[in-house]
Point group: C2
Chain length 469, copies 2
């Protein structure tokens, strides 16, 4: 579109402004920055021509909503995104400061440039371009931009449940996933669920001198290692009884399709910079990371960690454990199995405690849904090539919430590149993907607008006066 | 002695000055403080009447030596101690600042008040009191006070080996061990040796997203836990082949003696604030912690350790492992066994590396040596009660060095109390133990002076002009 071409410079400088807010949701010290970022985003949505723009307070970081509902005979698109970002540490590893966005070559560097501010921006600028040039949209639109995605979206479920009617839509769309390469767009059609746990093992009431007590007291750190070592059997299968009972067995047809589209084992190992595979030998690596569940120790800490040595038996040790779940596993049921297993496998010489940090349902998108066809056509327009349908091993809890509570599929139409260093130092967004992304978002609305039969558009108002700030 | 009684106030205020030096050997930022502390100590030794007082530079922290050699027909006592201290962190847990020593009730609080400045001070003040009142000593004396005990005494072996002749003595004595209670002095007659290792396990070249790769890559943190879980068998015995081959089997007579003198299982569990014992069931807890070896994971770190969760498969994980060794195990031989075992038990999906941090030989003191009798008489004079002979599970490398290189036994005549919080916040020294300790040190010199037959006193000079600073 011509409008987009002539406004690229402004779009980028606005995005730079957006990225310069240190809206780090995890850090209480940035709560005010996060709120200011929400206010700034609301202002930009108003300027783009959206209506009923509201910054909705939650117990932590606000949700920004907006809509445009003047196409009563057309479908409604719910656009989801998040304006909060991961912490930027270690800051010393950044070439330029994380919240002073810098353009180098075709890339914009800064924390959140890609995840998710840059990708969210493609939608906002698509809406603006459409409204400025056509004074209307080809669909109804509802925007839902949250500020807690990076900390588990804890206030989002209640918001969605409460405003179920106001959020009614024909389809949801979000851009917060990866393409396979600059010219290889990808539509994600499955996500794993998640269960995040903290396992603490406690022994003596205080740290002991390992010279005085070594050999007579069970070291909680050792006990924790022993417990962790039993989570998997020798073949890399999770050894918790019942764990695989509800894991869906896919027909050969689907497994063949996955083998055909890839990625293959070699590609996954190369991406992982790892020489040897591990895990369930009867499944490909692509299958192991998408249609099979996994249990990972994300972190472990206990005892002395400084230079040299220290003669200590620590009083406690803690591990962070996350499970990736697949259809039809339920996080609550798996949590019960894991808790029960841990209780039974805690040596009598120590105590253990399990704290649940996160639960998320797996999600699937029906590949025959017309919205996926719309997205494929949109990518073809924006990137000049058809997207691949991929399964992801990651977890985006909101996708399942939309599915369960709003009864809509979510189109995962990502613009991130594999080397965008999401969550890492020197995160970047490839600016050509912003321009192509805007074109893709515009075409997506066009295509959904043509979706037949038109889905009933709910008239309830997104303006939430009671909860607004 | 009258002199001691009338100078108590000064002795304590000097000790306060001594403790106020932050001579933290582990921290480079305190190197100058450690050197100043050495200089101050040398000055005090001169003031006490010692001769040839020298601050000897080493590649890191200096050694302070001094002597008094005017009793040619009497034995020579080598007094060892250390003026360096452990780091004081966490400083927030101290009631009064660690390097602003404070007297509360009968106790002097401060980092190093007990370990080892207060205990070393008892010897220095005993020498001063004797020399001031008698103008002579009942024995020849050589002092060796190092500044690297808390960081493994790495420059001491070379110093001892090099000045073997100058350090010749009839017996060594140090006060850096615990009594069993305020009125229960104890002579330590055995110490375990040590082997300190760092075990690092590496997998992918960089941290991976556990959503994208969980299930397909062996997590180095999990692999490390698996390796650690195999160090012991189900009965708490170390599972490394050959590990116990040279462990000395003590006759029933010795084991009965240990059972009689204690401490008993209940006492050890109470001290450990632990409900259940662990380890080799056929040995008492006192035996498990003294005449049996032990392997302890002192610290483990890998992956994410902040609040909440993070979806990461860490690229590496590291454990600090220490082994306590007993006669007749040799640290070098055990190191080979452990390294070989780790090599064979590293899964092919990861790599491992072992770094050696420390090696120390076990040490035994012959309970029939006349110096032990001298020490027992000294304790009886100083504390009004006979000491118990105890075995310790700890490690003091210098004891074995004196044994091997100088061919002298070391009398471990400690004045620390079990609740002195050595290495922990709010370390203290019980001031009555300073006064009783001085009396004990004086009587010890008297008694060694009576030891027959007198041992040849080496005439070589402790003044080390070549190496002095």
């Amino acid at each position: 579109m011509k409008f987009v071409g002539s406004h690229r410079g402004r779009f980028v400088s606005e995005l730079i402004e957006f990225v310069s807010f240190p809206s780090v949701s995890a850090l209480a010290s940035h709560a005010a920055d996060t709120r200011r970022c929400a206010g700034w985003l609301a202002e930009r949505l108003r300027a783009a021509g959206l209506e009923n723009v509201t910054v909705v307070s939650t117990p932590r970081h606000p949700i920004v909503v907006a809509d445009w509902r003047h196409a009563p005979d057309r479908p409604t698109v719910l656009i989801y995104g998040h304006y909060d970002v991961q912490p930027a540490d270690p800051e010393s590893e950044w070439r330029t400061p994380p919240f002073q966005p810098a353009v180098r070559g075709d890339d914009l560097f800064g924390r959140g440039a890609c995840d998710d501010k840059g990708q969210l921006w493609a939608h906002v600028k698509a809406l603006e371009a459409y409204l400025r040039t056509s004074r209307r949209l080809p669909v109804n639109v509802k925007c839902l931009f949250e500020g807690e995605e990076e900390i588990g979206s804890s206030n989002l479920p209640r918001f969605i449940a409460r405003h179920r009617r106001a959020l009614t839509a024909s389809v949801a769309v979000m851009s917060d996933t990866r393409m396979l390469g600059p010219d290889r767009p990808a539509l994600t059609i499955s996500l794993r669920g998640g269960l995040g746990l903290e396992l603490e093992v406690r022994g003596p009431r205080r740290d002991l001198h390992s010279g005085n007590f070594g050999g007579a007291v069970h070291n909680p750190l050792q006990a924790l290692c022993e417990m962790i070592s039993r989570f998997h059997d020798a073949g890399g299968r999770i050894a918790i009884p019942g764990f695989y009972d509800r894991v869906r067995r896919w027909p050969d047809e689907e497994r063949s399709r996955m083998a055909r589209t890839g990625p293959g084992d070699r590609e996954i190992l190369r991406d992982a910079q790892t020489r040897q595979p591990w895990g369930e030998a009867e499944f490909s690596l692509y299958e192991r990371t998408t249609i099979r569940p996994a249990l990972t120790v994300n972190g472990l800490t206990g005892g002395y960690q400084g230079p040299g040595g220290k003669a200590v038996i620590p009083a406690r040790a803690t591990a962070k454990i996350s499970l990736r779940l697949v259809p039809d596993q339920d996080p609550h049921e798996i949590e019960m199995l894991v808790r029960d297993w841990i209780r039974r496998h805690t040596p009598t010489t120590v105590e253990s405690e399990v704290r649940t940090v996160m639960r998320a349902q797996p999600a699937l998108v029906d590949r025959r849904h017309p919205a996926l066809r719309a997205a494929a056509l949109a990518y073809h327009r924006g990137f000049g090539t058809w997207p691949v349908l991929v399964r992801s091993g990651g977890t985006i809890p909101v996708v399942n919430m939309f599915q369960r509570w709003l009864r809509v599929p979510t189109v995962l139409m990502g613009f991130a590149l594999p080397d965008d260093r999401i969550h890492a130092p020197n995160e970047k967004f490839h600016l050509p993907n912003l321009y192509r992304g805007i074109a893709t978002c515009i075409e997506f609305m066009e295509q959904v607008g043509k979706m037949a039969p038109p889905v009933r558009c709910d008239a309830s108002d997104l303006h939430l006066s009671g909860a607004s700030s």
